[in-house]
């Protein structure tokens, strides 16, 4: 029996671990809806105590930057070196800063 089943949609899964870091993308899964996706994410992606909080979002709802824009999006930050603390020389005598 070949069934013309419509596939469950794809969800992206984000998990926050125990140590206070922000939610991190860990993978994806299929589910009929978001509630089910959260439960399945618990079963699939936290089997080894990986997390204490789960976000799921429909993969098709994610807006992403495009690789062609890489130059215009990210390169302008390259020469703003003064945003990094190592840009500034502070004499050792001043102590930790």
């Amino acid at each position: 029996m070949t069934h013309p089943t419509k596939e469950w949609p794809l969800f992206e899964v984000f998990i926050r671990g125990q140590h206070g870091l922000s939610h991190r993308h860990v993978g994806s899964l299929h589910a009929a809806n978001a509630e089910m996706a959260i439960k399945s994410a618990r079963d699939v992606y936290t089997r080894r105590n990986e997390g204490v909080s789960i976000w799921v979002v429909l993969a098709s709802d994610i807006a992403a930057s495009s690789p062609e824009e890489k130059g215009s999006l990210y390169e302008p930050a390259n020469d703003k070196v003064y945003r990094h603390p190592t840009f500034f020389d502070i004499p050792d005598e001043v102590g930790a800063m």
């Binding site: 029996m1 993978g27 899964l29 690789p67």
Partner: protein, 330 residues
């Protein structure tokens, strides 16, 4: 390996000079150790090869649940039952991660599943062998997972980002699989005469099929050369097979078991063991569908899929109803 005999779609490896600027940039990124991500431009051949390779790898994980699943209900202690179940569950998880990685290349899990069920796509030959005694749970973990790990560890550095990330997760989880297998083998090898006999018998039956997992020699294969240039294959089949033999022989010795190869011996000059090639005729028979369990394995997957159709449809229909009700209420 889990992806044996992947026929590349390319005609050979182009030099950088033969490539148009787009492909050249792509190849240079790979050469420099960069990652290719889903939305990046990639040659059609790269995409097609990856879909086949990741798909075949995923199918192997899923079909690979069956030979070990065969012993879950007969595991001899509660702890062994739990360990084996957790291990086979991991394999389902690994299949899931890999299908998701393949999906980023523009194919659906359902499509890949249909291609597995129709026999169009393959899975690793090793899972067409039967598991006949409890010692087979040891041999599968020790040898089959051991062989898989040989291949999967380098694939963590593969050029395709989603595939590499799936492999990182898989390798992290898989590290307990080989150890649990060897742990079973130790118990068996140190056990009663009957247990020792089971352990030796399992090694006898799985040694050749495990060596076949790496695929036939590909030293002169154009396909492999292209895959290696794309960094979707990291080592030659012979290289990994040799490494596997070199690691397994002392492990077998420790168990007091005999590797079923009368010509196996240490070659001082090469710094490796010399060993007998597995029966490649048998390998090609298994690939053609004539392994001991091909029919049962595919039948089991087809049954699960067909029997599950009403469940997948039912939950989907309910989700649609809920959505509609929510919209109507707003």
């Amino acid at each position: 390996m889990y992806a044996q005999m992947i026929k590349s779609t390319g005609e050979g490896v182009k030099s950088l000079d033969e490539m148009d600027p787009q492909e050249r940039a792509f190849q240079e990124r790979i050469n420099a150790g960069g990652k290719i991500e889903p939305k990046d431009w990639m040659p059609d051949g790269y995409r097609k090869n990856l879909i086949r390779q990741i798909g075949q790898h995923a199918h192997s994980e899923i079909v690979g649940q069956l030979p070990e699943g065969n012993w879950i209900t007969r595991a001899p202690t509660l702890e062994r039952k739990a360990i084996l179940l957790a291990k086979v569950q991991d394999e389902a998880g690994h299949g899931l991660y890999l299908y998701c990685a393949a999906e980023t290349l523009g194919v659906t899990r359902d499509q890949l599943t249909r291609d597995l069920l129709s026999g169009k796509m393959k899975y690793s030959s090793i899972f067409n062998y039967p598991t006949l005694t409890w010692a087979d749970m040891g041999a599968v973990g020790w040898l089959v997972d051991g062989a898989a790990i040989m291949n999967q560890v380098p694939l963590q550095r593969t050029s395709y980002g989603p595939y590499a990330r799936a492999m990182v997760r898989i390798c992290k989880e898989e590290s307990f699989h080989q150890r649990q297998g060897y742990d079973i083998m130790m118990k068996m090898a140190q056990g009663t005469d009957a247990q020792r006999k089971m352990a030796q018998d399992a090694l006898n039956r799985f040694w050749g099929p495990a060596l076949m997992m790496f695929g036939p020699s590909d030293e002169n294969s154009v396909h492999s050369a292209q895959s290696m240039a794309w960094k979707i294959k990291m080592n030659s089949n012979d290289e990994l097979r040799q490494k596997f033999v070199d690691e397994c022989v002392p492990q077998a010795e420790y168990l007091g078991l005999t590797v079923p190869d009368p010509d196996l011996k240490w070659n001082e000059e090469r710094g490796h063991y010399d060993f007998t090639q597995p029966d490649w005729d048998e390998f090609f028979d298994v690939l053609k569908g004539n392994g001991p369990c091909n029919t049962e394995r595919l039948a089991a997957r087809n049954k699960a899929w067909d029997d599950g159709a009403w469940v997948r449809d039912g939950l989907m229909a309910h989700a649609a109803k809920k959505r509609a009700a929510k919209l109507a209420a707003e």
